[in-house]
């Protein structure tokens, strides 16, 4: 897998974190925490819980940095995965105590691009715009399924139940949606 320059930089930081470099962790945090927090807020729909999970995710990264493999994921992807799995377990325990949130994966709220934070460089903005463009090429059904899975943390079966569709239909939407996305985003990957 080819890595961008900033991704290679991230890989180096993660290796230093594995060696116990606190400042390297701080660097990774400063670079990626805003996106991860946005992602977590999207999933959990609660700012304070999202910040807690953010903190836990990075703490886990601190502990498990030795287990990171660059071939399997980018550092951001790896961090996102940890954040996501912690968020999912929170959502499950929340669902155990209370009814699931209305938009566990927000297919409702508009995907507008907000004002960029002061620290953002121009290219992430452009990048996000391009990714949005790629997503626009998916059908509404495909996009919905991907969002429910990615942000809502729902499984096949849960998505099928939520949308009142047969399981096979959902599976095929996910596969075809991801395929289409891969095609659309190929230039940017």
């Amino acid at each position: 897998m080819e890595l961008t320059a900033s991704e290679r930089d991230d890989v180096q930081s993660l290796e230093r974190v594995a060696a116990g470099d606190r400042e390297a962790l701080a660097r990774l945090y400063d670079r990626h925490a805003p996106l991860i927090l946005g992602f977590l807020i999207r999933m959990l729909d609660a700012r304070d819980q999202a910040e807690n999970v953010l903190q836990e995710a990075f703490l886990q990264a601190w502990r498990d940095a030795k287990g990171y493999r660059p071939q399997l994921a980018t550092p951001l992807g790896w961090l996102l995965m940890m954040a996501r799995s912690r968020a999912l377990s929170r959502m499950r325990s929340r669902a155990a105590n209370a009814p699931p949130p209305e938009h566990g994966g927000p297919s409702g709220p508009p995907r507008e691009v907000p004002a960029p934070p002061a620290a953002a460089k121009p290219s992430p903005e452009e990048r996000r715009g391009r990714i949005e463009g790629g997503l626009a090429q998916l059908s509404a059904d495909q996009r919905e399924c991907l969002e429910l899975a990615c942000f809502g943390g729902l499984t096949y079966a849960q998505i099928a139940a939520r949308l009142n569709q047969p399981l096979d239909e959902i599976k095929s939407r996910i596969v075809s949606g991801m395929g289409r996305l891969r095609q659309a985003l190929a230039p940017y990957v």
Binding site: M1, G20, A26, A33, E51, Q55, A119, M178, L185
Partner: protein, 381 residues
């Protein structure tokens, strides 16, 4: 491990975290078994998912989260007490910092370490900073001790002020109660006065009513009196009228009486046995008059009955008897309102020889010898 194509379709869902149940377990086993193709494919799928995730709007976390994270990280890496080998130069073992770090100092150390982590620096610098922090903290403690004593003094003064304030409050409460009692007493007096006022007003009202009644009675009495006065006046007027009538009646009676007396007199004269009448008639240049004289020698007189018009102003009728010689006056004749005269003559001279009787108009009061016109004459005969 050989690649199994049926897992390829599951990889996108796995990357999304949408896989569960039996499929999930089998795929994970397959991946653990080290399928290289699936591993590479999965990495690419994960990238897609990352890109999907990147469409999210970034949100700046609060600085508290960063601090908490770094505190936890420092705690996890400085969990060992200070007797672990850390400083680079053992000769400069810090006297100020005790061998066993107190908990609060450990927390302080964590905070300081984080501060340095943020600012960067070597471990020596970290320890130096820590020592400085401890010194500053000691000064802080002294300062707090001084402030504590000052505060105690202020607290005493505040307690005094408080006691005074409580006393003032108690006095104010007592005063307020007194005022309330005065107020209640005043209200009671006001109420009594109002009751009296009401009673007085009731009396005034009753008196006014009586006054009005009396005035009405007075007016009625005045009207009655006015009526009575009017009646009295009327009665008086009638009384006066009656008195006039009476007076006129008396005059009439007197007149009638006089007439009656006169008649009686004339009748008595006429009863004389030797009475004879002499008719007088108007003379040639006199009006149509007539009279009659009754003469009685025995009575030595005569009565003349005549109807005459009133004499001219300033004149009287006079009667003359003529015997032998010039006429003798037989008196002025009184004529009444109806023109009737009944004139009596007593002591006619030589009555037995009187042959003519005459009436003339003379100056008022009569004269000794006739000067005026003779209006009536008659011979005895």
């Amino acid at each position: 491990m050989a690649h199994d194509p049926r897992f390829s379709d599951l990889l996108p869902a796995y990357a999304l975290g949408a896989l569960d149940g039996e499929e999930l377990r089998e795929l994970e086993r397959h991946l653990r078994d080290g399928c290289a193709e699936c591993g590479a494919d999965l990495a690419r799928w994960r990238r897609q998912v990352d890109l999907l995730a990147e469409t999210v709007a970034p949100v700046q976390p609060s600085s508290a989260t960063r601090t908490r994270l770094l505190v936890e990280v420092v705690k996890e890496s400085t969990a060992v007490p200070a007797d672990a080998p850390a400083p680079a130069s053992p000769a400069r073992s810090p006297k100020a910092v005790p061998r066993r770090i107190a908990p609060w100092l450990a927390g302080l150390a964590a905070a300081a370490a984080i501060a340095l982590l943020i600012r960067g620096g070597s471990l020596d610098a970290q320890l130096g900073a820590l020592r400085k922090q401890a010194g500053r903290l000691g000064e802080e403690v002294d300062r707090l001790g001084r402030e504590g004593r000052e505060s105690a003094g202020r607290a005493d003064r505040v307690a005094d002020d408080y006691r005074q304030a409580v006393e003032q409050r108690d006095r104010a409460v007592a005063e307020s109660q007194r005022l309330q009692e005065s107020l209640r007493a005043a209200e009671a007096r006001l109420h009594a006065a109002e009751t009296q006022l009401y009673a007085a007003e009731t009396q005034v009202h009753a008196a006014e009513e009586r006054g009005q009644q009396t005035a009405a009675e007075l007016a009625s009495l005045r009207r009655d009196m006015a009526q009575l006065s009017a009646q009295f006046a009327a009665v008086q007027a009638r009384l006066l009228e009656k008195e006039d009538e009476l007076h006129r009646a008396r005059i009439q009676v007197a007149s009638l009486q006089s007439n009656a007396d006169r008649r009686a007199e004339i009748v008595d004269f006429l009863r004389q046995p030797d009475v004879y009448s002499v008719r007088l008639s108007a003379t040639a240049d006199g009006p149509e008059l007539s009279a009659i004289a009754y003469v009685s020698a025995r009575a030595q007189g005569a009565i003349l009955l005549a109807h005459l018009p009133p004499p001219p102003p300033g004149r009287d009728y006079q009667l003359w008897s003529i015997a032998d010689g010039p006429p003798d006056s037989a008196g002025v004749i009184q004529v009444d309102a109806e023109g009737n005269a009944a004139h009596r003559v007593d002591r006619v001279r030589a009555i037995g020889s009187v042959h003519t009787w005459a009436v003339s108009v003379e100056p008022k009061g009569g004269v000794a010898t006739p000067t005026g016109r003779i209006v009536l004459a008659g011979k005895a005969g």
